[in-house]
Amino acid sequence: MRYGSTLAVDGIDLSVQPGEIVGLLGHNGAGKSTLLNVATGAAAATSGDLWLDGERLPAGSTPGSIAQAGITVIHQEPALASNLSILENLFLARHHTPARHDRARRAREALDSVGAGTLRLDALVGSLTLGERQLVDLARGYLAGEMKVLLLDEPTAALGAAETEALHGLIRQLASQGTAVIYVSHRLPDILEVCQRIVVLRGGRLVLDQSAAGMSVAALSAALAPEVDFDSEWLPEVGEERLVVTDDDGQLVFRDGEIVGLFGMAAGEQFDLVAALFGLGRPPVATLSGRRYKAITPRHAIKQGVHLVPADREVDGLVVGMSAIDNTFLPWRGRFRRSTLVKQYATIRDTLKVVGPDGDAPIASFSGGNRQKHLLARWVFPVAPRVLLLAQPTQGVDIGAKHDIKLALRALAATGVSIVIASAETDEIASLCDRSYVLAHGRHRELHRSGGYEERLLRTLLDLTSAERSPA
């Protein structure tokens, strides 16, 4: 597979047996998406073929004809019509639609079989959670006929722990019925939990293909990026109190030079809090540098030195058609000369190890991790923040880029910036934050990094949520 002069995937042979679950790993730009795109007909291979059950799929197969042949893809963000009901979505643009009276029964059956039996058929897809939408997408695949191959592209990137667990159960069940599964993810523990065989791509080549038995996260990380050192210890130099937020349970304190986590449920109130601090939603009771802090709009927050790196980089962050340079300097455009911008952009690329076309190219032509680096750079480099808020900064980002981002954040904290990270991932909080607040139902608990950090985060969250249900 070739994109212009760049060979995206080179001479990879991947065969998957019925009932096998294969984990596909690799950095951003390593070729995972390209491989999936070729397998689903979204991109045509320059050379090579696609074989299914011993039969060669004709060249120039469209996504539609490949889906018809029994290959189902589940994307991180399911392609469903959010303005239509579940039932309507399930039969949208399908060749063989059952008779009207039969549809509800077949739909029920499909939803039950993917473990979404509790969903109402007339519910609008737009009102569902991401996990539920993925299940609806999966049910669509189930209705398309025999699911011979299931391709999952980062299915758990935005899911909470319970939803992930349910999805994994479902994957195992489908595999036991003979479906071949290819599971693409950046979350190494997920891969290890559910996959039997692991394939690692690097630079468009296959570098590892072996059984998952006996593999550990550390071993996988090493295969992915041999040079990365994972447990570099870091002691923050904590300065004075910068931002103080008051809620029912008392104060949340964020000091200069610290990286503090806000942990909670998927789409939980930790995200509402950072959004509110950035002038989106009702301003919380807070002080900044000892003075009352109130931001009504993002513009207002930015003026006071509070920057937000949003979680959804495509929707909330980047202007897709605009060049990488323009995207990086958009909020600060008036403050710099052009020549300064170009020079500074070059330094940013070196510092964050950005890979991709040059800065005049639209940001859309960069890979996910590199887009995330641009977004981070925007809020960090041209004008240094006093408080940097980040929502899931390493979501959907490969392990190498994760490490780059972590180092960048620590270096930034060392300059005296107060950093706040909102996340629903224990590993994200554990790897980035030395101190964290667990938030649920308007309450919070404070935790410090020490043994069993991730486990304590989860347990505290559980305590907070169950305490709410049965007030003692």
Partner: protein, 346 residues
């Protein structure tokens, strides 16, 4: 190679313009004369003054179809004020007020109340056009003060005033789009409204100001047209909105917003001007001209999508200048601390 493709795709109108000029020149040698060049520029000056702000509106992802009627109404109102007070200055002030008020109304409804720009401005196209007819009872106003009449034929050196105003407008628009943060903000709003808001761009405020600016420009355009004609017909701006839209879309401004270049808009403007002039020189019927200009709009929209796609696709394959070699999109990560702190706060 791909860079060349991008440049070609972005300047397709310019290439078509050159081809068209060569064609008309071969049909009639008189076409290439300096005098005819000046005629063309004089014919498109008022159109250009409307097309430039409209280009910004479309880049911001919105639209104003009421400009033609605003031009008519302003011409009529300024003519009435001028005749009443015998003052050219007051007439111009009245015209600009009309433009600002109509623009502000559009802006209020579209930027702040988030109503559909197509429907709102189409409605106002009818309202202001009707008002212009109502105020004059359909008759053309004549009898301007002499100073105003002189504006219509004034020139600085050998260059007519209208052409100078157009040139100044083009330079100003280019400066705003490429050298002023407002330009990037406009493109950001058109490209991703929510992201623009999250970056601290005043989204409704910016769009509102664009509407006011468009109204004012339409008013100036209509008044200049009246000065040129030495009369103010209530239909003086009729069809200007379609022509301006044609210019903007021919100029490669994406209808969906977020993309556009002033050089493109100028190419589109010259294209329309040359086409109109060439057709007249060749003696093509007035009615056929209208058909051809309308057809250019349809073709421009047809090409718009495919050009944007081509540009996007070509960028994906542009060779990387600096880090990363082909086939090795990821570089190994070095665990050393980045040199970043030095950058912060620069």
């Amino acid at each position: 190679m791909n860079r060349i493709k991008i440049v070609l795709a972005q300047n397709g109108t310019f290439i078509a313009l050159i081809v068209m000029i060569a064609f008309f020149a071969s049909m009639n040698p008189r076409f290439l004369s300096l005098a005819n060049g000046q005629t063309i520029l004089l014919q498109i000056a008022e159109l250009g003054i409307i097309a430039l702000p409209l280009a910004f509106l479309i880049m911001a992802g919105t639209l104003d179809l009421s400009v033609g009627s605003v031009a008519s109404l302003s011409a009529v109102v300024s003519a009435m004020v001028m005749m009443e007070f015998n003052s050219t200055v007051l007439g111009f002030i009245a015209a600009i007020l009309v433009g600002a008020i109509t623009g502000a109304l559009n802006g209020l409804l579209i930027a702040y109340l988030k109503l559909n720009p197509l429907v709102i401005t189409l409605g106002f196209l009818s309202v202001w056009g009707g008002l212009a007819l109502f105020l004059t009872q359909g008759s053309t106003l004549v009898g301007f003060p002499d100073t105003f009449k002189q504006i219509g034929t004034a020139s600085i050196g050998p260059v007519p005033l209208q052409i100078i105003i157009l040139a100044a407008g083009v330079l100003f628009a280019w400066y705003i789009l490429n050298r002023n943060s407002l330009g990037r903000n406009v493109l950001a709003i058109g490209g991703n409204r929510r992201a623009a808001h999250l970056m601290g761009v005043r989204v409704p405020g910016t769009v509102f100001s664009l509407f006011v600016a468009t109204g004012v420009c339409a008013a100036i355009s209509g008044t200049l047209l009246a000065a040129k004609l030495q009369s103010a017909p209530p239909t003086v701006g009729n069809g200007m909105e379609i022509q301006a839209l044609t210019v903007v879309l021919l100029g490669g401004v994406a209808l969906e917003g977020g993309m556009g270049r002033i050089t493109g808009v100028v190419s589109g403007l010259l294209f329309v001007g040359v086409l109109r002039n060439g057709l007249v020189i060749m003696g093509v019927s007035q009615f056929l001209q209208t058909i051809l200009i309308g057809a250019t709009l349809v073709i421009a929209v047809l090409l718009d999508g495919s050009v944007q796609r081509l540009v996007k696709k070509s960028w994906n394959t542009v060779e990387t200048k600096k880090p990363g070699q082909p086939g090795q999109p990821e570089q190994p990560n070095q665990p050393e601390q980045p040199k970043q702190p030095a950058l912060v706060g620069q």
